[in-house]
C-alpha cells in the first residue's frame, strides 16, 4: 500500500516539477521582445549604416591629398598656403573692403576660352567595333505576309476585309434611290509568294552578313552524301529525303573540309572553365549605370593554343541600352577576353573545331547596383 503511495507521490511530484520547469522555459516576456526587434526598417538602417561606415575612416579622407601636395609648390598662380593653416588669422583680416572679392574675377571668365577641336591624325585604328552595329539591322517585316493564288493590291485604308469587293455607301441627302448604308470591303492584301531577304534584290542589303558562316568542322559526313546522291533519284520521296539531307549538311559541304578537330561535345565543366576564365577579367567597376543595363553579344575567333585573335573580336548583338553604352560595354568585354586570354584559355585542344569561334553574351544584370 505504502509502496503504491510512494510511487504515486513520486510520480506526481515529478510530473508537477516537470510542468513547472517545462513551463519556466516558455514564459510570456520572450515573444514581446521579438516583436520589438521586428522593426525591420530599423535593422535595415543599421545594416546600411554599417555598410557605409568603413569609408568614414581617415584613409579615405587622406586620398585626395597626395596629388595636391605635389602640385601646391609648383604653380605660381595657386596659393601656396598649406592645408593645416588655422582658421583664425585670415578670417579676422579678410573683411575690410566691400569690393575685396573683385580682383580674382577675371580669372573666372578667362579659362572659358578653352575650346576643343579634334586633332588631325588618328593612327592605325582598326575599328571593328564601329562597323559591327551597322550590320545588325533588325529585319523589316514583309509588306504582304499573306500568300494567295493571285496577288491582291493593298485595300483602301479603311476597308474591311471581305471576299467580296463593295464600295462604301453613305447616306446622301440628294440621292434619288435610297441605298442601304454599308462599309467598304475588299479582299486582304496578298502576294503569290513570300520574298525573303535572301531572295530580295541585293541593292540595299548589307555586304556582310550578321554573323560569318560557321566554320566547317565535321568532314566525316561527306561520303554519306555521295552515297545518297548515287541512289536512283526516280522516286520522289527519295529525292526529297536527299534534298533535306543535303540541306541539313549543306553548310559544311559547301565550304569543303577543315582540319580542325571536333572531338566529342564540350562538357559542362569545359564550358564553365572558359566562363570562369573570362569572368575573372570582366571588370564592370568603371561602367556607367546605363552601360550596366546593356547586354552585349561578342564574337571572337580563337587560335588553336586557346588565345583569342584580338582583331577578330566583334560586337554582334546588344540589348537594353543605347549604342553609346553598348560601345562601353563592348570595350569592357573585349578587354576581359584579351586580358584573361593572354596565356590562352583552358580549352581542350582536341575539340578546337567547336571553340574556334565563340560567342559570349555579357549580361551585367547581376552586377548592377540599383
Amino acid at each position: 500500500m505504502h509502496v503504491g503511495h510512494i510511487i504515486s507521490g513520486a510520480g506526481h511530484i515529478g510530473l508537477i516539477g516537470w510542468i513547472l520547469f517545462g513551463g519556466a522555459f516558455a514564459p510570456a516576456p520572450e515573444p514581446f521582445e521579438v516583436t520589438e526587434v521586428a522593426m525591420i526598417s530599423g535593422a535595415e538602417f543599421d545594416a546600411l549604416m554599417t555598410g557605409t561606415e568603413p569609408p568614414d575612416t581617415a584613409t579615405d579622407v587622406a586620398l585626395p591629398n597626395p596629388p595636391e601636395t605635389d602640385e601646391a609648390p609648383a604653380p605660381a598662380p595657386v596659393r601656396p598656403a598649406p592645408r593645416p593653416t588655422p582658421p583664425a588669422p585670415e578670417a579676422a583680416e579678410a573683411p575690410p573692403p566691400e569690393a575685396a572679392p573683385t580682383p580674382p574675377e577675371p580669372a573666372l571668365a578667362d579659362p572659358a576660352e578653352v575650346q576643343d577641336e579634334v586633332t588631325e591624325i588618328a593612327p592605325p585604328p582598326q575599328e571593328q567595333a564601329v562597323i559591327a552595329p551597322e550590320i545588325a539591322d533588325s529585319p523589316v517585316p514583309r509588306p504582304a505576309p499573306r500568300v494567295a493564288p493571285e496577288p491582291v493590291a493593298p485595300p483602301p485604308p479603311d476597308a474591311q476585309v471581305d471576299d467580296v469587293v463593295r464600295e462604301e455607301a453613305t447616306p446622301q441627302d440628294n440621292a434619288d434611290t435610297p441605298r442601304e448604308e454599308q462599309d467598304a470591303t475588299a479582299p486582304e492584301e496578298a502576294t503569290t509568294e513570300i520574298v525573303t531577304e535572301a531572295e530580295e534584290a541585293p541593292a540595299a542589303a548589307p555586304v556582310r552578313s550578321v554573323r560569318p558562316k560557321a566554320r566547317p568542322n565535321r568532314p566525316a559526313p561527306q561520303p554519306e552524301r555521295t552515297e545518297t546522291a548515287e541512289a536512283p533519284a526516280t522516286d520522289s520521296t527519295q529525292s526529297a529525303v536527299e534534298n533535306a539531307l543535303a540541306e541539313a549538311l549543306g553548310g559544311q559541304d559547301a565550304q569543303g573540309t577543315s582540319t580542325a578537330p571536333t572531338g566529342p561535345p564540350m562538357t559542362a565543366g569545359e564550358r564553365d572553365a572558359l566562363r570562369v576564365g573570362v569572368q575573372r577579367c570582366w571588370n564592370v567597376g568603371s561602367l556607367s549605370s546605363d552601360a550596366l543595363r546593356t547586354t552585349v553579344v561578342v564574337s571572337v575567333q580563337m587560335n588553336e593554343d586557346g588565345t583569342p585573335i584580338t582583331g577578330s573580336i566583334r560586337l554582334v548583338g546588344q540589348s537594353g541600352g543605347s549604342d553609346a553604352s553598348a560601345r562601353q560595354a563592348f570595350d569592357t568585354a573585349r578587354r576581359a577576353i584579351i586580358r584573361c586570354g593572354v596565356d590562352g584559355y583552358d580549352l581542350p585542344r582536341e575539340k578546337y573545331g567547336q571553340w574556334q569561334e565563340i560567342e559570349m553574351t555579357f549580361d551585367p544584370s547581376n552586377m548592377r547596383i540599383k
Binding site: T52, P67, E71, A91, I121, S288
Partner: protein
Amino acid sequence: MVRFLTLLAALWLMALPVQAQNGPLRITIDEGVIEPLPFAVPDFVAESAAAQQMAQQIARVVAADLTGTGLFREIPQDAFISQITSFNSPVQFADWRAINAQALIAGAVSMEGDGRVSVKFRLYDVFAGQEMGAGLQFDGTEQGWRRIAHKVADAVYSRITGEAPYFDSRVVFVAESGPKGERQKRLAVMDYDGANVQYLTDSRSIVLAPRFSPSGDRILYTSYETGFPRIHVLDVASVGRRVLENQPGTMSFSPRFSPDGQTVIYSLTQGGNTDIYRMPIAGGAPQRLTSAPSIETAPSFSPDGSQIVFESDRSGNQQLYIMPASGGEPRRISFGPGRYGTPVWSPRGDLIAFTKQSKGRFHIGVMRTDGSEERLLTASFLDEGPTWAPNGRVIMFTRETQGAGGQSSLYSVDITGRNLKRVRTETGASDPSWSPLQN
C-alpha cells in the same frame, strides 16, 4: 505521304545537333568583378621648353580627377617600362600591357609666347592595342591650365565609363572660419576639386544656402544682412548683388532656380506659417504654391521643370512631397521612419537625394522619384544638404563633426555609396551647390 513527312521530320531533327555544333560555341558571362580600372598617365610631352612644368602638372591633375572618382586606379610612374617621348610616335603596347595598364593617356603641351596654351591627348585601350576615340586638342590661356586638364580628364572619363563628364565644374559654398560660437561665413566658389577658391562676399553678415543658376552665371543665397533672412541674387562675373524679395514682416529663404533660370522658388514665413512661393527672377508678383498651416520648405524643381519636390511636416513628421510646378495637390513620396529633408532632384531626373535623420544619426540618401528603392549612402553625427554633380553620378554634402570644436567640411560620395571622400578646402565649408558643366 505520312511516312515521307515523318522521315523528313526525323532527318531535320537529326540535323539539329549537327548544326548546333557547327555554329560558334555560345557561353553567357553574367558575373564579373568590380574594381577600379588601372590606367597610366605619363607626363605629357612638352613641345616647348616653357611648357615643361605645365606638362607635368596637367598629367597630375588628370590622374587626380580620374583616381578621385574611385572608378580608376593610377599605376605609379616608377612602374613604367617605357615612356612617351613623342606624341606622334607609335605606342609600345606590350610595355604597358606588362604593367597591366588597361588605359593609357598620352598628351602633349605647347605654349605660345602670348600665354596661350595648347594641350592635345590620345586615349589608348592598351589590351586592344588601339585608340579609344580620336585625339583631341584643347586651347586656352595659361591661367586656365587646370580647366584644360579637367577637360582632358572629362573626355577620358566619358569615353571609358559612358557617364557624362563633370570635372570641369565649380562649386559654390559657405566658407566658415572662427570658433563655433562666432563663426564667420563667406560665400566662395572653387573648382569641383577644391582648387582656385574665390570669395564672393565678406564676412560681415551671415550667409546661407547658395545655389547656382542652371547656366552657372548667377547665385541665389540667403543673407542676414538686414537682420532677417532675405534672398539675394549675385552675378558671378561682376560680384554685383541685389535683394530678390523684400516684403516687410516676412522671412524668405531656401531659394532655388527653375531649370530655365527664369523662375525662383523659395520659402516665405509670414505670421508663423511657412509656405512655398515662386516668382520671376527679373522681379514681379510672387505666386503662392502651398497653403497648409504646416511648414513647407526646401523646394527643388525636376529637371524638366514640371514638378517640385519639397519637405513638409503636414503629417506631423517631416517628409518629402511632390507637387506640380504650378502648385496643386502634393503627393507624399517618403514613408520610412525618421525625418526627411532638403530633397534635391537629380539632373538626370531619375533620383531624388535627401537628408534623413533617424535614431540620432544623419544620412544622405537617394530614392526614386516615386519614393521607391530608398538607399542611404552615408551616416554620421551630422550630414546634410546634398547637391548633385552635373552628371548625376556624384553627390556632395556637408558633414559636421561633433562637439564644441565641431568643424564643417565638404564630402562627396558616389551614388553607389562607394568612394566617400573629403573635398579639400582651406577653411571650414558647408552648404555646397554644384555648378553645371562649364562651357
